[in-house]
């Protein structure tokens, strides 16, 4: 029983992390109709920033975390400014290739600046201490991650549903032209979307790093792709769906390996199988709206 609870807690933790990253994909897809291939690399950069901030420059953890989130958010905005904005009127495939270009660039940049050798993520005792909850032993992270993720998601929902900025985002997601006519600053709204999505990736990276403490230039690609899958699973463009998809992916992945340990080598392939099944059975995802394409 306690083993089961342990797995359950682990699944909740991983699922929340997936959800945090999936939000970034789904928000960007909502306003730009673009799979932001560089999102995983922004996540990777955030892990390096934490390493340098806390591990090397000995900043107190709260300051290090704060700076990481700010820098990561700015990095996301910068990538949009230089790689996506010039292509606003280009075919979507060009923007997709540009996103691949950014991801490729950030990976190579990280290799040059930070070196290809894997580094160890700095541990913050407050989060990584092991605690005992009625027989279930886990890092304090296991409880904190879902709580932090839930708080952030509620704040995000509030922002999207109740504020003017959120209204602008929803309008831009509907139609560029109509929202321009309503006096919405398109570029500013898209930049804000990237800002929020990347900040979420920053938070996700910090907590991911404490759970899986290895950093390398390619560390972002697998979580990146998996969280995109989580976003598709929930219905891309839908924030609640992204959270649901992230949690679901986390649960299924952990539970599958827990029940059939022989499959652990195939853990990474599993998400893709799930993606393909979803795309075939219900391409709009669990909560996605049905979009009719006009001829």
């Amino acid at each position: 029983m306690s083993v089961f609870l342990q797995q359950l807690a682990n699944a909740l933790c991983v699922g929340s992390l997936y959800a945090l990253l999936a939000i970034g994909y789904t928000m960007v897809y909502g306003v730009l109709r673009l799979i932001n291939f560089a999102h995983g690399e922004i996540f990777m950069m955030a892990m390096y920033i934490v390493f340098y901030g806390i591990g090397l420059f000995m900043l107190p953890w709260y300051l290090g975390f704060f700076l990481t989130i700010v820098i990561t958010a700015l990095l996301g905005v910068l990538s949009e400014r230089f790689a996506y904005r010039p292509l606003r009127n280009a075919p979507r495939i060009s923007v997709l290739i540009s996103a691949i270009g950014v991801s490729y660039f950030l990976q190579n940049l990280a290799t040059v600046v930070f070196g290809g050798r894997p580094l160890t993520f700095p541990q913050v005792a407050l989060f990584t201490d092991v605690i005992d909850l009625g027989g279930v032993k886990m890092q304090r992270l296991g409880i904190l991650v879902p709580i932090i993720a839930a708080a952030l998601l509620i704040a995000l929902m509030f922002l999207i549903k109740k504020t003017r900025t959120g209204l602008a985002m929803r309008a831009v997601a509907r139609s560029y032209d109509a929202s321009r006519l309503m006096g919405i600053d398109l570029n500013r709204t898209i930049a804000v979307t990237f800002l929020i999505g990347s900040a979420m990736a920053g938070v996700g990276a910090i907590m991911w790093g404490m759970k899986y403490p290895q950093i390398s230039p390619t560390v972002g690609s697998m979580p990146g792709i998996k969280c995109f899958i989580a976003a598709v699973l929930g219905g891309i463009g839908n924030t609640t769906g992204a959270v649901l998809g992230g949690l679901l992916l986390g649960f299924v992945e952990i539970m599958l390996v827990a029940v059939w340990p022989d499959l652990s080598g195939y853990r990474d392939a599993f998400a893709f199988v799930l993606l393909i099944v979803v795309l075939l059975v219900k391409p709009t995802g669990l909560l996605g709206e049905k979009a009719t394409e006009k001829v």
Partner: protein
Amino acid sequence: MKKKTLSLLLTLLLCVALVGVLFLLQGSASDYLLRIARLCAINLVLALAMNLINGFTGIFSLGQAGFMAIGAYATALLTIPAAKKQMMFMIAPLVKPLDALTLPFGMALVIGGLMAAALAFLIGLPCLRLRGDYLAIATLGFSEIIRVIITNMQNVTNGAQGLKSIPANANIWWCYGVALVVIVFMGLFTTSSYGQALKSIREDEIAAESMGVGLFRHKMLAFVLSAFLAAVGGGLLASYNGTIGPDMFRVTQTYNVLMIVVMGGMGSISGSVVAAFIVTIGQEYLRVLDGPITIGAFHTDGVSGMRMVVFSVLLLVVIVFFRNGLFGTKEVTWTSIGRRLKSLSGRGKEGMQA
């Protein structure tokens, strides 16, 4: 008719000239130069394979690395001598018929290609019903699944240890021979009625369908052919490299090829050919950047990987500012060269008169 025979004659002449150049290269060039020359041809094959599906048909597939992996593993397993195989498979012995089987290189390449084509057919059944970026991510997913399966199939692929001592069959004749065949095939195929149908799908699916082009059938044809060519390219690469492992066929491998296709122009054979040479040679000569650099008072001790940063910036610049690459969808043909020459000489005369 006369024009056609002339261009055929010119093409044959060019082929003879190419063979001559290759003879000269093999006789006089250093091993290092020959290596780069071979890599150019292999990248050319890989780029054309990707261009067929991504450029000509307009289907943004990111699964090339998976098909390359199949070609590479098939070629390696079918050409490595039996004794070497026995030494290599330490964790789990190689499965029965493969452990003693060795085939000629050409046959191994074709078998690898056919295997990839068969798999592409199965992958295409679900994937080709998707569109745009969904299709991109689904094909990428399949490519990753292939890689994960290869990593886990210890008794066939030797798992994460990879395969070593693959015979170096891919000499300059094989590389350029295959490249030439692929170029000629692509030239004929893209101008055939099938090629025209593929281009019409790229321009507008709905219009193409209403003109009677079977969308799924044609997309599948392009996808399967592209997988075949990618696997042949992968097989050449395996033999060129001598060692392969599952990590070689990550998504990055697809991106490397994509870079060539985008730079040359999506939907241009000439573009892919020229870009394959530029990118391959460029990547070699930019190795200078990895070494120590002194600019005035500024000095670095050499950072490995610097050239890849420069290259990725270059790729971004090409996408953002020159979206159509070097050639767009245009081709260099004898007619276009003739026209260019005529206009040049015409301008020359005007210049003299003035």
